[in-house]
């Protein structure tokens, strides 16, 4: 169902910006004309805001040209340029966590529990590796401080908090005193000074008074504070402490980035730069739960923004799916997508059944983050995954990746010596020539060597062949056979990932459409669909910037939770009463975000289980929630216990501030003849031999075009393989739709 929030026609230009490792992507949507444009700029890791501002300048420049000229080649922006609405996702928080460059953070916790962060769940990360040790905690032992206090599971304070002890504990946060004995806030920036404090007391979700008091005093003293009852009022102390610590650790970093960005945006709107004056902008930040939040909120809860890029991708898929469904006009149609984002080093997959799946069991860089995130499963297989022979004589692919440096063998980055000689003789003695999935695709003729990334990067098939020869030799396989094997194994990895998110969770892939985006996915999507009996593959024209695109489509979303541990037989009135504070909070916060009342949707759900179980199912709260629980349990686990005692563990409220979706204009369907886009016929190797097959230029394809397989569609951002027996067509939104033969 497409959202249709009632609001006055939106005339603000909307801009989605996603900072990735390599590129910063921009998607611009003009609501008045329905026009969409995208572009990419190289990311600027030393100062991520630099790429963002250059991109905005470029958009400003374009606007000022439009206002002077009556027409430009790709349509005209007719919006008011008074105000822009920017939705922004970045890897700032992610990198701070993964590279451990966050704020110097302390922990305050209940006496006896300061090591919970280090003990974790006491299991080791790998079973058969003596040397595997868990990720060290973000907060070192000397900064994990304890206070005497205790609350029990009913929320009763067994040991009260003592103010005078708090003062002693706080004194330890200040680190070595400076000569003039300044307060802690003034010595920030010194390596030894604590900037940020995570507060996580036992059972604070049942009674937060102690945590509140500590947080209040710390805030008054000038510390950044993340209190566990604010970010995650749920039981299980390790997961809550970890989430709180991550938030305390990354928030100051995101805050300083966003503050700087806001300042620059203000400056740009007041002082013209190279004659371009940018309008004032409303800035929203993308979260990992698939919604956006205000900058102010993001600065306080950066843990919610850790995986904003991949989340944008999934929301983008959801949006494209809704667009297609609305077009089918079938009352029974039901949104079912598997999203598949294959990049250079890793592949992200997720499942959308009506809505994207949410998880509260995510882990990033070895740190559990138990707030609701879109359930995205990542595996270490991508275009750059390295093929090698293991000790048992099996051909293996990944998880090691050649990365961008040296990259796949065919990039020719094996050193100047190798390139100068250009010959195989020398290279065979260069052991660091890495055979990758990309090399296999190139050798099989599936990537045109002169047309990779729009011809921006020449590839060397002879190097790919040499690298694959080295791997295959021991197995008695030719380079071509090895290449076919590498593809098959890479596909097995990705098939397993898709199975994890579908069949392992009770979904049949046959009921889904595979939505492929990311640079490396187009060559594998059709094979994967066939293996999993997925009938249709869809590749969007916005595939390469789908994350930024998703940000445009994202609603404002806030999640609230509370552990309650109520018996299942308690009345709906009582449950409603317990929901009331969460609903009030959600409603109030959305109004603060500037969402109109008519666009606010509040969803109530319950985490329920049979008494004695220790994992919960999330059930919508309604009159028949008990029956719904039994039913869902049966669906998910194959049995139920009608009449069994039930516990309501958590209440959840999702507050959604609906934002009008971008509306993509439909193109008129033309003839089925795709010959206008035909570039050449080239030999491509399949398992049954070499076939001369047509190559099409993706950017030239028109709605209605039909391409029978086998064929290859080459675009600047990706290459798409259409297999024998499959057929592709271009829909009114310029999506390439692959019909997978049985």
């Amino acid at each position: 169902m497409l959202k249709n929030p009632q609001s006055t026609p939106d005339t603000q230009l909307r801009i989605g910006i996603d900072i990735g490792g390599t590129f910063t992507d921009f998607v611009i949507f003009d609501p008045s004309s329905g026009g969409i444009e995208t572009f990419k700029l190289p990311s600027t890791p030393h100062d991520p805001a630099e790429a963002v501002l250059s991109g905005l300048e470029r958009i400003g420049e374009r606007l000022s040209i439009d206002s002077r000229q009556s027409s430009v080649d790709s349509g005209q922006w007719t919006v008011s340029s008074e105000r822009w609405h920017i939705i922004h996702g970045s890897t700032v928080a992610t990198n701070a966590l993964l590279e451990r460059k966050g704020a110097r953070t302390a922990l305050i916790t209940t006496r006896g529990f300061k090591d919970v962060l280090q003990i974790r769940r006491q299991n080791r990360p790998a079973l058969y590796d003596f040397a595997a040790s868990p990720t060290p905690p973000l907060i070192p032992a000397d900064l994990r401080l304890e206070v005497d206090e205790r609350v029990d599971y009913r929320g009763e304070a067994l040991i009260p908090l003592r103010e005078e002890q708090l003062d002693q504990v706080f004194a330890q946060l200040e680190g070595p005193q400076t000569a003039d004995n300044r307060p802690p806030s003034a010595v920030r920036g010194q390596p030894s000074a604590v900037e940020s404090v995570a507060v996580c007391l036992l059972f604070s979700f049942a009674n937060s008074a102690h945590e509140q008091r500590i947080a209040e005093k710390l805030r008054a003293a000038g510390f950044f504070v993340s209190a566990s009852h604010e970010i995650l009022p749920e039981y299980r102390e390790y997961e809550r402490a970890s989430t709180t610590a991550v938030n305390a650790y990354v928030s100051p970093v995101l805050e300083s980035y966003l503050t700087k960005l806001e300042k620059s945006l203000t400056a740009y709107s007041q002082y013209p730069i190279s004659n371009i004056k940018l309008p004032t902008s409303k800035l929203q930040i993308m979260q990992s739960n698939g919604g956006s939040i205000s900058v102010g909120e993001a600065k306080n809860s950066a843990a919610r923004c850790i995986l904003s890029g991949p989340a944008g991708g999934v929301v983008g898929c959801q949006y494209l799916g809704e667009l297609l469904e609305s077009n089918l006009q079938s009352p029974t149609s039901n949104l079912q997508f598997l999203t598949f984002d294959m990049g250079g080093t890793s592949t992200d997959v997720s499942l959308i059944a009506g809505e994207p799946r949410i998880t509260t069991e995510a882990e990033v860089g070895g740190h559990p983050i138990a707030i609701p995130l879109l359930d995205i499963h990542t595996i270490g297989a991508g275009g750059g995954s390295i093929a090698y022979l293991d000790a048992g004589g099996a051909l293996r692919v990944g998880p090691q990746s050649a990365g961008a440096e040296p990259g796949p063998a065919c990039y020719g980055k094996t050193g100047d010596r190798g390139r100068e000689m250009g010959g195989l003789v020398l290279l065979s003695s260069a052991p660091r020539l890495l055979a990758t999935v990309t090399d296999a695709n190139l050798l099989l003729g599936r990537i045109p060597p002169d047309d990779f990334l729009g011809g921006a990067m020449p590839l060397y098939p002879e190097l790919a062949e040499e690298a694959l020869r080295c791997v295959g030799e021991e197995l008695g396989l030719s380079p071509i056979e090895t290449a076919l094997g590498v593809i098959e194994i890479a596909n097995a990895h990705m098939e397993r990932a898709l199975r994890v998110i579908s069949v392992e969770r009770g979904h049949d892939p046959r009921d889904f459409t595979l939505l492929s985006f990311g640079g490396a996915g187009g060559l594998h999507a059709a094979d994967l669909a066939q293996r999993l009996h997925i009938p249709t593959v869809l590749i969007s024209p916005y595939a390469a910037t789908l994350s930024a695109f998703g940000m445009l489509a994202a609603d404002v979303v806030k999640d609230y939770t509370q552990t309650v541990m109520l018996p299942g037989h308690c009345s709906t009135e009582e449950i409603s009463n317990r929901f009331a504070p969460l609903l009030q909070k959600g409603w109030g916060n959305l109004l603060e975000e500037g969402i109109g009342e008519e666009n606010i949707v509040l969803q109530r759900t319950l985490d329920m289980r049979y008494r004695g179980q220790s994992y919960e199912l999330n059930i919508p709260f309604g009159e028949d929630f008990i029956a719904a629980f039994h039913r869902t349990h049966r669906q998910t686990y194959g049995y139920d216990r009608a009449g069994g005692e039930i516990e309501i563990v958590n209440l959840r409220v999702r507050a959604i501030g609906q934002v009008p979706s971008p509306k993509i204009a439909q193109r008129t369907m033309g003839s089925a003849d795709a010959s206008g886009a035909l570039i050449a016929c080239r030999p491509v190797t399949f398992t049954d031999g070499v076939h001369d097959i047509p190559f099409y230029r993706g950017e030239l394809l028109q709605p209605g075009d039909q391409i029978p397989g086998p064929a290859i569609v080459v675009r600047d951002d990706t290459t798409i393989l259409i297999n024998v027996g499959d057929a592709a067509s271009v829909d009114p939104y310029l999506n390439l739709v692959l019909d997978i033969g049985s």
Partner: protein
């Protein structure tokens, strides 16, 4: 079109592809079991394993869950085959059967580990008549879970007993489900003999669900690739792992290496229990001989052969070092000699609860001690060498209706230092990898309160590289309760290597008011309301002189 080499028995590419498919089936079974099970022991602590077998009962793939289940799962399937060997006969194995067992002397390990084995039948050809449907045995799927209570003299069924009859309900291989129908009499009998029948029922149903999922996936695989092909790659998986083991052994210097160490006691007599090993490496084969180990004991530290096999498997599996598939091929080039009637191959009716959890750790210690001379760059000093099994049971009086409860926990400790790095602290080592029960989950579920859960600093052995530190976990009982301790390394510390110091021994202490009363490593104790059980786990050994 291509010059393919002459048809090999299998090709290295499909091998890798099938490896993923087999492993995915076992993983999916595990996901189903974890999600659907009842008890915190399975869900929170993940004390379970799932595996896939060929028609001969050889293990093809196991989801990497708990090492101590590794070598022993095939013996469960073997016992199921042994008992119901007549296929097709209504008394023999049939489609829709689920065999349950926990008898350590017939395919089990210790009584709390209940294993469910499901034979997978497939139609003999693509278009079977209704009569032929599902008539041919193709393989097995099995799941094993540690059930928090299976009866016996103490709650939690990990007592310090003298014979197996005291340890709980013994289940020989029986059909818990027969041709799709639950054997209600067997189920009723089982549930009548345990302290928490609802939880057991939920967990058993979850295990049945996991097996059903595994069976479904294996059948799908056969219908997609054909029986012959799947069979071929099942065999290929075993050979593949075997090759990896052989390559490992070949690279190790030939010779005989011996090592011995002791269990503190058997819980009944205050005498150390010797475990001795001689590892002989010869080319690409090895003989692991436990001759000379102590005779089986009165107390519960006896290991059945399956446990000893698992420990040997674990050690060599670690030394292979790659993510080899977990299957029976690993042990093919290794002969394991464990004389019957000893603590490493106990005879009926020995008590065995601790063999699985404690003796298995010491078997690993002696093996690693012997192999330290062979692969000095890879073998760590001794880790904590115990799982610190604590069971607390009693009656939960917090609500109107009193309920019996049984809480079982194992506690991590120090990992031994490595030749090039410190050992990890506060973590499970070697034969187990279960998670803790969160204090907040525990206090909702049981009348208990956790007062401390912290690293026991300074307990790791000194050395060039330090052993990891143990844990201190203090639990207060809010009402009367009975505690069973089954812990080790309270007397003899985990050894250091190459001049590294041993780790600290563990301590069990009862805090009653102001008084601290030392408790034995093994035994049952009655606690009063307000008593605090303080468990301090051993540190790992250090490596190298400081």
């Amino acid at each position: 079109m291509f010059n393919f080499p002459p048809p090999a028995p299998y090709d290295p590419i499909r091998l890798e592809v099938f490896k993923h498919r087999f492993a995915a089936i076992a993983e999916e079974m595990g996901a189903v079991l974890r999600k659907a099970s009842y008890s915190p022991n399975i869900k929170e602590r993940r004390d379970y394993s799932c595996a896939l077998f060929d028609a001969q009962g050889r293990m093809i793939a196991q989801a990497a869950h708990i090492p101590v289940h590794l070598g022993s799962m095939p013996l469960s399937v073997g016992a199921a085959i042994e008992t119901f060997r007549v296929f097709g006969d209504p008394k023999g194995l049939q489609a829709g059967d689920v065999i349950a067992l926990n008898d350590p002397f017939r395919g089990g390990t210790h009584l709390p580990d209940i294993t469910l084995v499901t034979p997978v039948f497939i139609p003999p050809h693509p278009n079977p008549s209704p009569k032929e449907r599902g008539t041919q045995l193709f393989g097995f799927v099995a799941s094993r879970a540690h059930h928090a209570d299976v009866g016996g003299i103490t709650p939690g069924s990990m007592p310090v007993a003298r014979e197996i009859y005291q340890e709980g309900l013994i289940i020989p291989p029986i059909k818990l489900v027969s041709a799709g129908e639950t054997n209600q009499a067997a189920m009723d009998l089982l549930l009548a003999n345990v302290r928490t029948p609802e939880e057991r029922l939920g967990d058993l149903k979850a295990q049945i669900g996991a097996n059903q999922r595994g069976m479904l996936r294996l059948r799908e695989m056969v219908s997609e690739h054909g029986q012959a092909e799947v069979n071929r790659y099942m065999a290929a998986m075993l050979e593949y792992t075997e090759r990896m083991t052989r390559r490992l052994l070949k690279n190790l210097p030939d010779g005989e290496y011996t090592f011995s160490d002791y269990l503190d006691d058997d819980g009944i007599h205050d005498q150390p229990v010797l475990i001795k090993v001689k590892v002989k490496i010869e080319g690409d084969r090895a003989v692991v001989d436990f001759t000379g180990s102590a005779p089986q004991q009165k107390g519960s530290v006896n290991a059945v052969y399956a446990i000893t096999l698992s420990a040997v498997y674990y050690v060599f599996r670690c030394l292979i070092g790659l993510d080899a598939p977990n299957n029976a091929g690993c042990l093919t080039p290794i002969e394991v000699i464990a004389p019957e009637g000893t603590v490493v191959n106990a005879r009926h009716p020995a008590a065995v609860a601790g063999g699985n959890v404690e003796t298995s750790q010491r078997i690993v210690d002696v093996l690693l001690g012997a192999l330290a001379a062979v692969a000095p760059e890879r073998v760590p000093a001794a880790s904590q060498g115990t799982m610190n099994n604590i069971t607390i049971g009693g009656i939960d009086q917090r609500e109107e209706k009193p309920r019996p409860f049984a809480y079982y926990e194992t506690i991590g400790g120090g990992m031994g230092a490595l030749p090039n790095s410190d050992g990890s602290s506060a973590i499970h080592s070697h034969m187990t990898n279960t998670l803790n029960t969160p204090a907040e989950a525990l206090e909702y579920a049981y009348p208990l309160r956790v007062l401390r859960y912290e690293i026991r600093r300074g307990s790791g052995g000194e050395g060039k590289y330090r052993g990891g530190d143990g844990i201190r976990r203090d639990v207060q009982v809010l009402g009367e309760a009975q505690v069973t301790l089954l812990t080790e390394r309270r007397v003899k510390p985990p050894y250091g290597l190459n001049g590294g110091q041993p780790g600290n021994t563990g301590e069990n202490i009862l805090i009653r008011g102001e008084e601290e009363i030392p408790l034995p490593g093994k035994g049952a104790i009655e606690l009063q309301a307000g008593d605090i059980l303080s468990i301090r786990t051993p540190g790992g050994g250090g490596y190298g002189a400081k």
